[in-house]
Amino acid sequence: MNAISVRDVYKYFGTLCAVKGVTLDVLEGEFFGLLGPNGAGKTSLINMISGLSVVDSGSIEVNGSDVSKDYLRARRMLGVVPQELVFDPFLSVYQTLKFQSGYFGIKHNDSWIQEILGALGLDEKADSNMRSLSGGMKRRVLVAQALVHRPPVIILDEPTAGVDVDLRQGLWKFIRELNERGHTIVLTTHYLEEAESLCGRIGMLKKGELVVVEKTEQLLQTSEGLTIRLLVSSGDCHLPESLNSFQTKLIPGGAEIIVPNASNVEEVLAHLRVANIKYDSLQLDRRDLEDVFVSVMRSGKDG
């Protein structure tokens, strides 16, 4: 059974179509990354999965339960860490988690609450009012709130936005453990190195359309190659036409040439020599998810 099943889903805000016919399956136990620039429709899609938004057309199921028709069961299966740093100013950290447990129908949840507080480094803040916490601490409480009912599917909408390195590492360690224990994780993030190291599969949204869904390693393989970066002190770099068979682009202070493999490097250097192109330094980089992301977002397929 799929943890999340999205079928031909559309979402409109007035005349703007924020999500355009997205179909996506997230498998049980998977660590799935949902990437896309701001306004690509990530949060709109997540909001529909979690029931915060109404699905205009199409259907979404969480662990086999339709989020509209069987919303109570679907919501019980889901833990969501929202993007916005929201909190209830009337409550302490412990009260926040106690009430959140109750909302999910759990009366006695103290031992699990203590475990989450410990895992997220919140045990000393249990009795502090939410208002008195720093941004990073509030973010931890949001994660804890999403976990109080031990949901089989956890969605994290940019959970590490604006948090320090310590928390980020601690958070990922904890989320990885949850994934190893069988929880399905869906992550949206702008930190692509996080997605590359954590997610087994990645989907990319562009202007409301799902343009890529691929295993992370395959995605990186499709972008196998090297980036040759030339830096010139004059800042003026004209590449010869003989390099047009490669993907090239001008960058501040130089140019980049993307080649399929290491054997092409010598060929590029030869073309540069023939064209008498002078450069001050040359760098070779392996392409990563960021390059894939950039090329997908710049590709002709326009959402």
Partner: protein, 253 residues
């Protein structure tokens, strides 16, 4: 069921944490009204001629219901509006709380606050004036229906409003005039014909008249008629509110 209980108890916790503002202040306001109006108008207005009911006695149930209504409205409207504007409404929208549980938790918490304020006003007034109790069931029934009616109306206003200004407008331009034109300070029979007609179109009038009948056994209109009108309006507002919640109007984009 646990979801409902939790949301209900959270709403109770919310207003009790600021008890001076949510209970103390409205009680004080009602008592000030009582002292000022009773001193200014005592002896000038004759209520229920021949019944022997003093104006001060007459005033107390009206002020109690006025406070009850205003506070039931304030509880739901401010809670929902505040949660929406601060964004923490997601904490109650994400969990598996049914539409009915959601509605009942908010409205019943408003009923509790309304009844607490209403009855504290009555008890505090006993320091100044003795009050008969003709029929406690009538008092409790009209008190409960009134708080439910305004709790639902407050929930509708809170769901609809995008800023606090709109809630304040609702309170000042709808609730307050309807309360003042409902017979809190006078018997409807003392009014000119036009204003009598206006009062008969105001559901708050029947609420206050019925509630007052529970104390004195005397009313401007038949208590049963008031009960039917008040029940119908309460049901209509509650049902309308439930439909808004079910549709996710301004809650689930």
């Amino acid at each position: 069921m646990v979801g409902f209980q939790t949301l209900f108890s959270k709403e109770i916790t919310r207003f009790l944490k600021v008890g001076f503002q949510t209970i103390g202040a409205p009680v004080l306001t009602a008592l000030l009204y009582l002292l000022i109006f009773s001193n200014a108008l005592r002896g000038r207005i004759e209520v229920y001629p021949g019944s022997g009911i003093d104006y001060l006695q007459f005033l107390v149930p009206g002020l109690a219901v006025m406070s009850l209504l205003q506070n039931a409205f304030a509880n739901t409207s401010s809670s929902i509006a505040q949660s929406k504007m601060m964004g923490n409404i997601v904490f109650v929208l994400l969990p598996p709380i049914s539409h009915l549980e959601f509605f009942l938790a908010y409205v019943l918490a408003a009923v509790v606050r309304g009844l607490i304020v209403g009855f504290v006003v009555v008890f505090a007034s006993l320091l100044f004036v003795a009050l008969p109790i003709e029929n406690l069931v009538t008092i409790l029934t009209f008190g409960f229906l009134g708080a439910t009616m305004l709790g639902s109306l407050g929930l509708i206003a809170g769901i609809w409003a995008d800023k606090f200004d709109q809630i304040a407008a609702f309170q000042n331009f709808v609730i307050l005039p309807m309360t003042f034109l409902s017979g809190v300070f006078y018997s409807v029979h003392d009014l000119p014909n036009f204003w009598q007609l206006v009062s008969y179109l105001n559901p708050f009038f029947y609420l206050i008249d019925g509630f007052r009948a529970g104390f004195f056994g005397v009313s401007d209109v038949d208590v049963f008629q008031s009960l039917i009108i008040v029940s119908a309006v309460t049901f209509a507002l509650s049902f309308g509110c439930f439909l808004l919640i079910r549709a996710g109007y301004k809650l689930r984009s």
